[in-house]
Subunit: 349 residues, 2 copies
DNA sequence: CTGAAAGCGCTTACAG
DNA sequence: CTGAAAGCGCTTACAG
């Protein structure tokens, strides 16, 4: 790998001169500038990021602190972001936060030492503590992506997943469903549970704590489907007392549909089912699976914009962006009843 | 962040002494060793990877050069590997190779400059050129994961995806299917196509170039399903002339099943359908979707072992590992006929 | 047993 | 207009 010293020797100029002209510092003769630039190009010179980092300058590195362990896998995003960074000449560090503040704290410290320019942290509630915010502010840029506002003045993308759940509940109410249930990993889905219950109550539906079916899964894995059936079996040995079911991911929804089918329950006639994340397979299922679109590509857009605008100008005030999830209707959710037919058909459900 | 100088000042010892004892170099008094170690712990000292990298030592970094753009998304792996590396105190660079040798070459050069210790490159045929092998050998460790042997002495994991396709063909032959088709992105699936055709011919099935249905998708995206229907519509306006179909991914298989169902074709009675990658949703489909399990977790296991064993001992010879994909039977593939019933039933299919 | 010196590849005052 | 010098945080001969 060619260094400044190589250019210096080849041109007969000092290393300082080479560095200065290469960085566009004024006060050098046109001839020198041209000579240096030409030689640099000839040799294929690029500044060593390690050396720059040691001096506290940019290493063209961004750190992705992702909680990949959740019940859905946000991995499409990691890829998307890495590719965007790559196009801008940046390199991406990928780390799993494991949704643990201690892990996050340690990784952030490591990122600092490595001269990472910007960090993007994706979190569930409770992870971004005050101390972690302090650490985040030590980077040239930091973007928090999550459901709750960070403690401090950090650029924040509010990924509003509950919104899609509310829309889904609206649809169920429109279809005259009255006894909805929510199938989620309760430990990490507090905001979704809250949104679900609130919206149901507002619309006069019949819900209680028993409407929340806990699915005790730590992450997605191959035994997912049988685990789902098993926990449904345990809880509902006799009959399934709900007329609609929203699930935390499409995989869960598909497993639930299979389970219902085995027991002679028709979807959507007897029970409407709605998944989440809008997996590519959803529309190919039978019945096609209604879902909630995360709009991860919008999140990625905002991340890119926030990171690079701040890297350009550190004086920017803290910014907030909002990305809302969105209910996607498909047959499994049951037809929406138009206002006119409502009266006639409502008894039939 | 505490530095050696901090420890030096606090203990009154020279920076060289601190460095030497911290690195366990012999010849220092017990007292000094203890003092330095205690102080280092007190201060929470860790060596700066940037400085180490500049000296050509380990930065505890590994680079993942992934071709994420293919028709299946190998993203679960990136996460898995990143997590394993993290547990060993390493940090992971994630880069998309875009299946382009130029991109790979450039990224590899960047990795070098950044002092990356090991690189894991995942490729399709044609990407790992001789020149790229040369670059790979410049790292302390390099593992190639792909369908063809690399040119040179590089640790290689042969991820044998064609194997599962061959097993799937065997199953179809056992079930007396005679006119199989393969639905793939032909440009990148050369080895799978070859294995499919060879195995079919060996078993006396009726195949030709027309048995390969090209699906012109560059990457997985939301319009996948409708794109699939569309290309099937174009090619088979009147009737579907096959009795079985293997698809390059489960998403494609599900879309094909939906398309067949719309035209009154029964799965698996009229056409057996087999997917690939064994998505979590596969077993919850109706009929449950047969698939091909990639065994990515085994690949990840081997990657971890190969990388760290070589980092431990650079004198190891180049090693080869084999991970075979595996056909997973489910209803969509149609029942296997036992040898006895074959004779009786064979006419019925 | 310990430390002064040089150097990895760069940048930044500062002197000339 | 240009270059010598110091320094970022570390390691490695080498001298004492």
């Amino acid at each position: 790998m060619p260094t400044l010293l190589d250019i210096s020797r080849k041109t007969g100029l000092s290393v300082a001169t080479v560095s200065n002209t290469l960085n566009g510092r004024p006060g050098y003769s046109k001839a020198t500038q041209l000579l240096v630039q030409r030689t640099a190009k000839e040799l294929g010179y690029t500044a060593n990021p390690l050396a720059l980092g040691l001096l506290g300058k940019s290493t063209r590195t961004i750190g992705l602190l992702w909680s990949l362990g959740g019940p859905h896998s946000a991995e499409g995003m990691a890829r998307d972001i890495a590719l965007r960074m790559q196009h801008r000449g940046y390199v991406t560090h990928l780390t799993d936060s494991l949704s643990d503040p201690d892990v996050v704290g340690r990784q952030l410290a490591d990122y600092r030492r490595r001269g990472v320019d910007a960090v993007v942290i994706q979190y569930e509630s409770g992870v971004v503590t005050e101390e972690i915010c302090r650490q985040l502010k030590g980077f040239s840029a930091a973007v928090a992506v999550g459901p709750v506002e960070p403690f401090d003045e950090i650029d924040w993308i509010h990924h509003d997943m509950p919104n899609g759940y509310r829309q889904a509940v609206n649809h169920l109410a429109d279809s005259k469903r009255t006894r909805p249930a929510l199938l989620v990993h309760a430990a990490v889905a507090v905001h979704k549970i809250k949104a679900f219950l609130e919206q149901c109550r507002e619309l006069g539906m019949d819900v209680s704590d028993r409407s929340i079916i806990n699915f005790p899964a730590n992450g997605i894995h191959k035994q997912f489907a049988s685990l789902c059936r098993q926990s449904l079996d345990e809880r509902f040995s006799r009959e399934f007392p709900f007329d609609s079911l929203i699930c935390q991911c499409d995989e869960l929804a598909a497993a639930a549909i299979a389970w219902l089918r085995e027991r002679g329950v028709r979807v959507p006639e007897d029970v409407a089912v709605i998944g989440c994340n809008n997996a590519m397979l959803a529309e190919s299922l039978w019945p096609p699976l209604a879902s909630i679109e995360r709009h991860d590509e919008k999140v990625a857009d905002e991340i890119e914009k926030l990171v690079f605008s701040r890297l350009d100008d550190s004086d920017l005030p803290a910014r907030r962006r909002n990305v809302q999830s969105q209910f996607i209707w498909r047959e499994s959710a049951g037809k929406r009843l138009s206002p006119k037919t409502n009266v006639k058909l409502s008894g039939g459900l």
